[in-house]
């Protein structure tokens, strides 16, 4: 098994899985979706630290 991972533990990669992971680390470009998520997360983190209310709406 080239991947070992437990819910509350570490992730172990070896063989092809480790090689592919290293390629991701070294060659992936910036991720716009992740950047957008971070921007949203910063607003939420601020509200968490200040106990601010939020509201969500669904149609």
């Amino acid at each position: 098994m080239a991947i070992k991972s437990t819910t509350f533990g570490r992730v172990e990669l070896s063989g092809n899985d480790a090689a592919r992971f290293v390629t991701h680390m070294n060659e992936d470009n910036a991720n716009p979706k992740a950047k957008k998520s971070l921007q949203k997360g910063r607003q939420i983190l601020s509200s968490v630290r200040t106990s601010a209310r939020a509201s969500a709406q669904v149609s």
């Binding site: 991947i3 570490r10 070896s14 991701h24 991720n31 992740a34 968490v48």
Partner: protein, 180 residues
């Protein structure tokens, strides 16, 4: 017709009501069981931290949990060695630090409000703005259920696209914080 829900996001409290949390799917039962029986214990043991969305009743926090995410410290161990182009000296270490999303669930009566997305975004911000500046953190990682892969992709996570991982019941997905 639009329906609003007022909520706050905070750390799980010992007094929070978790017994009425509904996942709506037997496949998610372990998540419900974790919230009801283990989340507070893990928190007290300092093993994991759970953040919750609390539905406000006329502006009052009655501790009604409608979504939660549980985070813990983790690491990614790359057994056959690696070289980081951005930090070659890191290659002498056995592993790289990470935050793991151990549990994530939204009460099925409160889906479509974007609460799961909100909690993942919160995790990214905690890792980037609080943990990395104080102790170092390179990744957010999770063992995603097959049904959740698309969701994590929309949050910017990468699916390790090897045969073993793609065929795994809960494949590894990760966010490289250096790329943010």
């Amino acid at each position: 017709m639009k329906i609003d829900v007022d909520y706050i996001v905070r750390i799980l409290l010992d007094t929070d009501s978790v017994n009425n949390f509904k996942t709506g799917d037997i496949a998610f039962q372990p998540l419900k069981t974790f919230l009801q029986k283990q989340a507070k214990e893990f928190q007290k043991a300092m093993v994991a931290q759970t953040y919750v969305c609390i539905k406000l009743d006329q502006g009052v926090d009655n501790g009604k949990v409608i979504a939660f995410i549980t985070l813990t410290c983790s690491e990614i161990d790359i057994r056959n060695g690696y070289t980081l182009d951005d930090c070659e000296h890191a290659a002498r270490y056995d592993s790289l630090p990470a935050i793991k999303i151990a549990r994530l669930a939204v009460d099925n009566r409160f889906r479509k409000y974007g609460l799961g997305s909100l909690l993942v975004s919160l995790t990214t911000a905690i890792a980037t703005d609080e943990i990395y500046p104080t102790i170092g953190c390179r990744f957010v990682v999770t063992d995603a259920k097959q049904a959740a892969i698309y969701f994590y992709l929309t949050q910017g996570f990468i699916l390790l696209d090897t045969k073993d991982n793609l065929e795994a019941p809960e494949p590894i997905m990760f966010l490289d914080l250096l790329k943010l």
